[in-house]
């Protein structure tokens, strides 16, 4: 049943598939993010309590939710790489890590700039905020582990184990606001019941969340392609590609 998937473990096939997918991801990401952001920042109504300051939600929430989704993607790839020993999966995990770290930083940064005017503080050692900071450190750990071994098979194994172990942090981030009393608000977007946000605000937010996901996908593909080339520099097909592109 999964046999067709195995063929994409071949670096050349994975590279060609990535080249085909990249323009779609890029275009759709650009479309979704511009629609969501312009709608959210310019046309969505102001909030009854926070006025216009709440609009940072259109960046903060997509960044925060995608920082967790990207981590799950990275850990899944690392798991496949570890169990089935598929190098392409390891490369996917290594490609996602820096993007996830940047997105996590954006979530923390926008959260701090939102916290200052609304709560009255940039930072508080609240369960939600602390767990998200731990996520940033996990990403940085995966990046540095992957970078610190010459042998990339070994590097991927070490980084992959850390990525898999770190998965435990994801439910902690997600449910921190329900399990403990925190300064951070509980979730606005609910999957099983009605979200506690007016639909004129909710739609641009959801569009931006999808857009951020597509953007992470697009950048992952770019990084994945260069990772494939870097690991397969000696292969004939890479050399042929280089010649074709005019690199001597």
């Amino acid at each position: 049943m999964w046999k067709w998937l195995h063929s994409y473990a071949d670096p050349e096939k994975a590279y060609n598939l990535s080249s085909k997918l990249l323009p779609w991801f890029s275009l759709l990401a650009l479309l979704f993010i511009s629609v969501g952001t312009i709608w959210g920042l310019m046309f969505a109504p102001t909030d009854y309590q926070q006025g216009d300051s709440y609009r940072i939600i259109f960046i903060h929430v997509p960044a925060a939710s995608m920082s967790m989704a990207a981590y799950m993607g990275m850990a899944t790839a690392a798991f496949i790489g570890l169990v089935w020993q598929i190098k392409a999966a390891d490369w996917v995990a290594a490609s996602i890590a820096p993007i996830g770290a940047v997105i996590t930083f954006i979530a923390l940064f926008t959260g701090a700039t939102w916290g200052k005017p609304m709560w009255g503080t940039w930072w508080v050692w609240d369960a939600r905020l602390t767990a998200e900071l731990v996520l940033l450190f996990l990403y940085l750990g995966v990046i540095s582990l992957y970078a610190s071994f010459e042998d990339k098979v070994l590097a991927a194994r070490a980084a992959g184990i850390l990525a898999i172990v770190g998965v435990i942090n994801i439910p902690i981030i997600k449910y921190s606001v329900d399990w403990w009393s925190s300064l951070h608000q509980p979730s606005t977007i609910k999957i099983t019941e009605k979200s506690s946000m007016s639909s004129e605000m909710l739609y641009p937010l959801l569009i931006n969340i999808v857009g951020f996901g597509l953007m992470i996908g697009a950048i992952t593909i770019v990084r994945f392609k260069s990772e494939i080339l870097a690991r397969n520099g000696m292969r004939p097909w890479v050399r042929a590609l280089a010649k074709q592109e005019g690199v001597s």
């Binding site: 009854y48 939600i57 020993q85 709560w119 898999i164 009393s181 925190s182 608000q185 606005t188």
Partner: protein
Amino acid sequence: MNPRRKKRLALAVALIGGVAAVASLLLYALNSNLNLFYTPTEITQGKSDTGVKPEVGQRIRVGGMVTIGSMNRDPDSLYVEFAVHDSLGGEIVVTYDDLLPDLFREGQGIVAQGVLIESGKLEATEVLAKHDENYMPPEVAEAMGQTHEKLDYSETQSEAAN
């Protein structure tokens, strides 16, 4: 699946399971310490599970709703006094001598950090406003009776912050 893959799969699953077990035990043990604040009821009657009650002189955070009509402002300084309550009926008095955050108003959820100077009275050094998960345009809020004008305190009481 060949035996080597099966072994690696078992190892990876055992790793995840082990870490999950360790983390949940750790979080369970730390549970009460991970709360950012005490609720007023917990200060007056102790925590519901352990009965632990903060002592006078202890530095704590308290979180709850500012009781409507309890705000007392000193006309010549920044000094304010207000009561904070929760849905279980506990109430404590908070004193503060600094600028309050923009979102602060009666009926608002807040978190105050300070020293418990006597049972049921907190001298705050920091007051943070807490907002809930509801977002709506002002017209909708008005229709629902949840107007939130800064100086014109509304009579409606939204649910207790938790």
